[in-house]
Amino acid sequence: MNPFVDMVRFTPNEKRYYRNSIAPGLAFLAAMAGVAFLVRSFRDEWHFEVLAGLALLPVLPMVWIIKVYIDYFRDCDEWEKLIEIYGIAIGVLLVGMGYFALGLLGLFKLVVLDGTLLAYCMLPAVMLVYSLGKVVGRWRHG
């Protein structure tokens, strides 16, 4: 089997995980679109508590995705778990370091940071680097 192809080829467990992630992923997109529309439309009419609750609705499909991931991780065999841990460690550490570096630049007032954007981008950034970390793990141990 070609090792380079194997680095990016999904295991049956991974295929199941990505398949199971489609529904919560679509729910997240729908929730984001719906919430953006409702909050913009009723910002001046509805109470803050209602708007805040509404704005947090997209968290629910994200929790669903995390549940799907936990189920996937539980079904991983020992080598797959090693690769997952590689991905998670690299994702969290690199993104954490990037945020720390940005924080230093902000602290010394060398750049103006948009905290909202940074907070919103953290999880997607971790997910993206996690995927790259898995390729690194497979390259080293695959």
Binding site: M1, P3, D6, R9, T11, P12, N13, D77, E78, W79, E80, L82, R138, R140, H141, G142
Partner: protein
């Protein structure tokens, strides 16, 4: 760690996927073990030894 998993598997006429199914692991896991990039846990090493009917030390060599 060097091992003789590939040789034993081929002697049995099994593909990586078939061996993976017998071990209840992914084919990629079998490939990683065969290429020496991943050392299996003790339970998986015992499973391999039982499957091939040989002691663990006949399959794995930590001298290299």
């Amino acid at each position: 760690m060097r091992n003789l998993i590939r040789e034993r598997r081929e002697a049995m006429g099994w593909s990586q996927a078939e061996l993976a199914e017998r071990l209840a692991v992914s084919r990629q896991t079998v490939n990683a073990i065969e290429t020496g990039k991943y050392d299996p846990s003790l339970p998986l090493a015992f499973k391999l030894a039982r499957l091939f009917g040989e002691p663990i030390e006949a399959l794995f060599d930590d001298a290299a």
